[in-house]
Symmetry: C2
Subunit: 333 residues, 2 copies
């Protein structure tokens, strides 16, 4: 395993800053640059944007060519958008410098079914430049896909799988609480769904990854989304939800073979959910029920898995990889 | 992924037969030979030994050279002994034919600390013959090592880890129930411990694998073993345990850094254990508690992970690998 490596933080929003903060804590990682396109951030020090309380000597730049021309970089932590279409030009530009990338773009977690042409192009450019790209995160990337696949190792047969992720969003950031529609009327909630801003991105990618891993051919992947309506007052530090308003979202993804639902992913995030947990259920030989008590905190876990994946990605063969193809990602602090 | 491969069953005891039985169910595996040294098995058909109710046209042989000279083989399922010293000549002989091996030899799961010279030799022979060897199983190999490491992916920091495996052995085979000392007086139990026949092999290997994965240097690995004494009558289909006799075994492995216990593995197998489960506890950021409800049935899971690992082992780079170095093993039936 490579002892030390040099990293650039690409995208300095909340998740990017959380990744950078963790990278700075790791003795084997040297953070050597930061990129963002926000005019309010360009030229300022990453430490200031992160709220680190001190400057890091890392000015945020949008000049990617300039940065990579003068700096040797092993890996880029890429946290900008959920949309593969949006980030593909960024990834391809970066890959041209032969740098490896760990991205939290949800649609990159398993893009071969939903975006086959973009996936093929990114894979081709990565190979041509001897670089590796991975899309990961806690979800997609872990609790609703690679964790299920990992647990099937001890199954002689797998007939159906189900993952449930229930989160009390009161401990999450305000943007997350807003994103799940907390405090909206049912009508407002519906408008946000129609505008496409409320949807958690990744269930379809997770289902496609699971099916590919298990060697299943699916006939259909379907997603549904609905508000969780508060029965009583719920409150977070930021938002008050009245009865009849949405306290959050319930999103379900289904993978069907014929008419049979063989993969089910249930995602619930709401203010005041009675119990946070992640669970995997395997209908097979043997049946399995595995539970992460208290669940997996999205922001903490996402920063962790991105940083933890770095050494695996650096060591891996060139190309576009997914979590199911990589040796197990381990926390080394 | 290779579509189909040809396998030989090496060792036709209970575990070997369970592996062969599962391999026969998989459409992508063709079982082309069986090896055992037991004079009572040689020359008889594998199907008869397995209790398959029919002959498979696979005679059990001890003539390894003859078998591999005339048969193309991709992988050997190797289930003979827990002791690496005992199996090393078998593995080296097999590797000479350039075949890949998945072995359930417990001491092979992570032999680099306990048997560094043997590990280096096996690795060297494997590389020289472009073959891959993996030691795996449910424990060591999964519930007390690679599963822990897998779960750390979402941790920013790991301070200590603990795994607990509690099994009600009433559903297991008679040899297993005997092996854990069920029905022994405390004195008989102690004699079996001293004779070395009662000990579950693998805790030290699991601890070494975890430490290596996390990048921890341990100062000491210690194991203790004691009987679980029945307070009341317990009974399985095979054995009756009276109060004051051992209903099973409690074995604890500890990895220490200085005086601090940073890795703890607790293994309990007894007739009538109140609840079977496997659990992982991570003291870190965040803390994690993950539970496999009902636990993981040893025999079913071991056969599963051996057969499921085959395709990963065939695809892997040559050498001696462990579960922590392999892409996640997935059940494909």
């Amino acid at each position: 395993m490579k002892d030390r490596f040099r990293a650039v933080q690409f995208g300095c929003g909340p998740i990017g800053c959380a990744v950078a903060k963790l990278a700075l804590q790791r003795s084997n990682i040297e953070l050597v640059g930061a990129v963002d396109i926000d005019p309010n951030k360009i030229g300022r020090d990453l430490g200031e944007i992160m709220g680190a309380g001190k400057n890091l000597g890392i000015p945020i730049t949008k000049d990617i060519d300039g940065l990579f021309a003068k700096t040797k970089v092993d890996i880029v932590f890429h946290q900008t958008s959920s949309s593969l279409k949006k980030v593909a030009p960024e990834l391809i530009h970066l890959l041209g410098f032969g740098v490896n990338i760990v991205s939290t773009t949800e649609e990159l977690a398993f893009p071969f079914m939903t975006h086959p042409e973009l996936a093929a192009e990114i894979d081709k450019v990565a190979r041509a430049n001897r670089a590796t790209v991975l899309g990961t995160g806690v979800n997609p990337g872990f609790v609703m896909d690679s964790w299920i696949l990992f647990m099937t190792a001890v199954c002689q047969e797998v007939r159906k799988v189900k993952a449930v992720r229930v989160q009390d969003a009161r401990s999450r950031r305000l943007p997350f609480q807003k994103k799940i529609g907390a405090g909206c009327t049912p009508e407002q909630f519906q408008k946000l769904v129609e505008a496409g801003t409320l949807r958690h991105v990744g269930l379809t990618e997770s289902i496609a990854m699971i099916a590919d891993g298990l060697g299943w051919r699916l006939d259909e992947i379907a997603e549904s989304i609905e508000p969780i309506i508060a029965q009583e007052h719920v409150q977070s530090s930021y938002i008050t939800v009245n009865p009849g308003q949405a306290s959050g979202v319930r999103q379900v993804g289904k993978g069907l073979r014929g008419k049979e639902e063989v993969i089910t992913l249930e995602f619930e995030a709401s203010l005041g959910a009675p119990e946070s947990y992640d669970a995997v259920y395997i209908d097979g030989v043997p049946n399995m029920e595995v539970v992460i008590k208290g669940g997996t905190h999205g922001d903490i876990a996402t920063a962790a898995i991105v940083v933890n994946a770095a050494s695996r990605v650096i060591e891996a063969e060139p190309g576009l990889l997914t979590m199911k193809d990589l040796p197990i990602v381990i926390s080394r602090s």
